[in-house]
Symmetry: C2
Subunit: 155 residues, 2 copies
């Protein structure tokens, strides 16, 4: 079954992200959706995403937390503002800050679950608390402050 | 001129990291060295490392900060303990926690400098404050707490 994430509803120019853009065919194509009150992404690392052999690279784990945070913010913003997601109206958030705690080494040979709890929703800023789970154990925790992309982004 | 980083002195099993392992040919091969009292890595993103077109993906920036932090810790530990680095005796640190602040969008079409200041050196934990600079401007700041890899890592 094809997983549909909020990232499938970003406008084309917002869908080129290496982490989660459906139009970036060299990227990770992370997809984030609701799972009850939590947000969920899943990802199976490639063999090259190694840190120490057998375990996932910390930068890859930070990348998963990063895009899960912006995706979760988009979902939460749409819910808060009663926006029905469709092609291609999803709000686009960018990361303001990221915290990652590596609690234990993350095994590389399995699917990872990245789960978010929406902690705070303001007009343009959303904070998500995130846990990354491998084989039933929380290996990484993190927090993402995501900001609704300003009209003058990068100008 | 070939840049030599502390990562060139990791033992083989510690040199497979996607971010900085000299033996990971699909990875970023980040190399970290001293530049006066600071530590320095440089990296030119590939076109696919996009966030919003024209700017670097936040997960890639977090990856650069991550490996720069563990590399800086290895350099600082060697200095503190009067270890002369050679093949393949470099101490190996792993990331305990990572903080990243995205201050402004990072342009993708240039070499990035990642600069570290060693903030704290304990027996097995080293904290590095890091700035990521593009075209003379600090675009990202961060902090890495790195931990000397324990003998029972992942066991």
């Amino acid at each position: 079954m094809k997983i549909i994430g909020v990232q499938d509803y970003y406008a084309d120019d917002f869908a080129k992200c290496y982490g989660c853009g459906r139009l970036n065919h060299k990227g990770h194509q992370i997809k984030t959706r609701w799972d009850g009150e939590e947000t969920l992404s899943t990802y199976t690392p490639k063999p090259e995403h190694t840190a120490i052999p057998g375990f996932v690279y910390g930068g890859m784990l930070a990348s998963l937390i990063d895009c899960h945070g912006t995706g979760s913010a988009a979902l939460a913003f749409a819910k808060e503002n009663n926006i029905e997601l469709t092609e291609f109206n999803a709000p686009r958030f960018v990361t303001g800050s990221l915290k990652v705690n590596y609690l234990k080494p993350t095994p590389i040979n399995c699917e990872l679950q990245i789960r978010g709890k929406i902690k705070e929703v303001k007009a343009r800023k959303i904070i998500t608390e995130i846990e990354l789970i491998a084989k039933g154990e929380v290996c990484v925790s993190g927090e993402v402050l995501a900001v609704l992309i300003p009209d003058n982004f990068g100008k």
